[in-house]
């Protein structure tokens, strides 16, 4: 009696399965190793970056030690280097940027998640994100020819005449300096803070909002008493991410901050940032110590931004977990 197809299949099944299994195991293994290898690469690149920069900075680390971060003596001719003015410029311009950008970014994020008509929402969010798409060097160009004249002729005189009794608003009006740098940075980190905050606010369950509103709260009360407490750590993360971006931002700041290694209380005075000094002097650095000093500034910048990003991501993940980590 001829074997029916069915019984043939039943008899052959173990063989087919075994063959399929073997084939898929090899294929799956290769696939897993290949994709896993590139995943490893992501981690390796981060580690290698720190390692390479530490090696590059070795000479400077050995020669100046801790003195590097407290000295403001930057003299390539005598081969002595201290990074204090650059650190000051970076920190102050970034804090100024945060002070300007955080309220606006939060306002944007809140408007987009809580208040905006649904039809407008996607389009507005897209336009705000376009701010991040404009290249840094274009902001710099705009800073030189549009922002800086505006500051010199209108904003700085106005600030000086109203708030001139404060030490922050004194000195000649040049348009280039800390104020210009801070404003440019604020514009550039705004989309970062806004979009991460939006993500965080969206992760707050709608039932919370409905509960708040059902209790008779106004939108503002609901936001203050329900949404913000829930989202607090994530919003802090968004701010820290913005700070990290501001610390490392290079071109636009370099083009408007004046590039003078001085520490001055006035926001009108020119300043210099860590990223800017690397951008300006790296290719001209003659001498190993000079190059190592610039690499050490890079290393400092890398270490600080890495740390800030780690903290920020942990904070954001606490509220809005990425899909895979749920």
């Amino acid at each position: 009696m001829a074997e029916s197809t069915q019984t043939f299949l039943v008899r052959a099944q173990p063989r087919i399965l075994r063959r399929l299994g073997r084939e898929s195991n090899t294929g799956d293994l290769i696939f897993r190793v290949l994709s896993g290898g590139f995943a490893v690469l992501v981690v390796v690149v981060v580690l290698a970056m720190g390692f390479q920069m530490a090696i590059g900075a070795k000479l400077s680390l050995a020669k100046f030690g801790l003195g590097f971060v407290v000295s403001s003596d930057w003299d390539p001719v005598r081969d002595t280097f201290g990074a204090l003015p650059f650190m000051y410029g970076t920190v102050v311009s970034s804090l100024l940027a945060l002070a300007l950008a955080v309220p606006v970014s939060f306002g944007v994020a809140i408007y987009l998640t809580e208040l905006c008509p649904v039809k407008l929402r996607a389009a507005l969010a897209f336009v705000v994100e376009l701010l991040a798409a404009v290249p840094s060097v274009v902001y710099g160009l705009w800073g030189i020819f549009a922002l800086s004249p505006l500051l010199r002729e209108h904003v700085e005189p106005a600030l000086a005449s109203t708030l001139g009794f404060l030490p922050f608003f004194r000195g000649p009006h040049q348009g280039y300096g800390m104020l210009a740098g801070g404003i440019i940075l604020a514009i550039m980190i705004l989309p970062t803070i806004a979009s991460v905050s939006r993500e965080v606010l969206r992760a707050v369950p709608d039932t919370f909002r409905e509960g708040g509103l059902a209790l008779g709260a106004t939108r503002w009360e609901m936001l203050r008493d329900v949404v913000l407490p829930y989202a607090r750590s994530g919003l802090l993360g968004a701010v820290i991410l913005g700070l990290g971006r501001a610390l490392g931002e290079t071109m636009a700041v370099t083009m408007v901050i004046g590039n003078r290694a001085e520490i001055s209380a006035s926001l009108f005075a020119p300043s210099y940032t860590m990223a800017s000094v690397i951008a300006n002097e790296f290719t001209e650095a003659t001498g190993d110590v000079y190059l190592a000093a610039l690499a050490e500034i890079g290393l400092l910048l890398f270490a600080v931004t890495l740390l800030l990003n780690i903290v920020a991501r942990l904070l954001v993940w606490r509220v809005a977990k990425p899909a895979g980590a749920r």
Binding site: V46, S105, F106, V128, V138, I144, A279
Partner: protein, 283 residues
């Protein structure tokens, strides 16, 4: 029904709050509008045929174009895409396929952290990795720097889009007896391909405007590219050089180049947005 005492004050606070948020959006859009206005009004006059076809003139001579910088940007960005996209997509596939493990969490975290590392330090990294051993600035070094910058974006975009593919599709494939890797490559990856392509396009658009990491990797060149192991010009670096120069004519060309760059970036962004929207609507 009588309103409780203090209700009007609460309503006023709420109105002020709503107003402040709407005002924040307006404030945020002013710089964008201004940047677009300036690049268009100042750049339009400089965009002509010679801009796209001629080499830069020596200092002081009027005219000339940025043909070599356009060629250079295309070369550097093209090579960095060849390097960065396959690496990023595969790493993203790994994250989407084996999501639960601790290792995947470490990778995901590294990618997120990496995207926040300043591009100038990536430049130093590429300098010590490529420029020092080769002994000169080169297009390759610039591409490596840009590839490193796009890597985390491509990885996370790929992962997120692969996750959007319904699990039933994969189950159907596996149910037919297909090996897991075939199911991933032929079914899941293929379904997500248009979305991934869009995300990757945005990552590429973003690195095309990067300047800082190119300053000491690709450097600059006043002539046509002379091979990938030589210094090469690029649009962003050229904009920077011209912008900080004291010459009127160079400023005009910097604006023209900025207009070209911004138009390119905006077009890519808008296209990507429209593509994604039409896909979502089709679902």
């Amino acid at each position: 029904m009588k309103a409780e005492p203090g209700y009007s004050r609460r309503r006023l606070t709420d109105a002020l709050f709503r107003g402040a948020c709407a005002a924040a959006v307006a404030v945020a859009l002013v710089p964008l509008a201004s940047v677009l206005y300036y690049t268009t009004s100042r750049g339009l006059g400089g965009v002509d045929l010679s801009f796209f076809t001629e080499l830069p003139k020596p200092v002081g001579e009027k005219g000339g174009g940025m043909a070599n910088a356009i060629e250079g940007t295309l070369t550097i960005v093209g090579m960095s895409a060849l390097l960065g996209i396959p690496m990023g997509v595969l790493a993203g596939v790994f994250l989407a396929e084996f999501p639960g493990s601790r290792f995947a969490t470490v990778v995901r975290f590294s990618a997120d952290v990496m995207s926040g590392i300043p591009s100038i330090t990536v430049g130093i990294f590429a300098y010590s990795l490529v420029v020092l051993p080769m002994g000169r600035f080169s297009a390759i070094a610039g591409s490596v720097a840009l590839a490193v910058i796009m890597l985390p974006t491509v990885t996370r975009t790929t992962e997120e889009l692969l996750r959007l593919v319904p699990g039933t599709l994969r189950e159907a494939a596996l149910g037919l007896g297909v090996a897991k890797w075939r199911a991933t490559v032929s079914i899941v990856l293929r379904t997500a391909a248009p979305g991934i392509a869009t995300g990757v396009m945005l990552a590429v658009a973003r690195v095309a405007g990067e300047t800082a990491p190119l300053l000491f990797t690709a450097f600059n060149n006043r002539f046509w590219g002379q091979g990938v192991d030589q210094p090469i010009a690029s649009l962003p670096v050229q904009i920077y050089t011209y912008a900080v120069s004291p010459f009127e004519d160079w400023h005009r060309q910097a604006w023209a180049a900025a207009l070209v760059l911004v138009t390119l970036v905006l077009l890519l962004n808008v296209t990507a947005k429209l593509l994604v929207r039409s896909k979502v609507a089709a679902r």
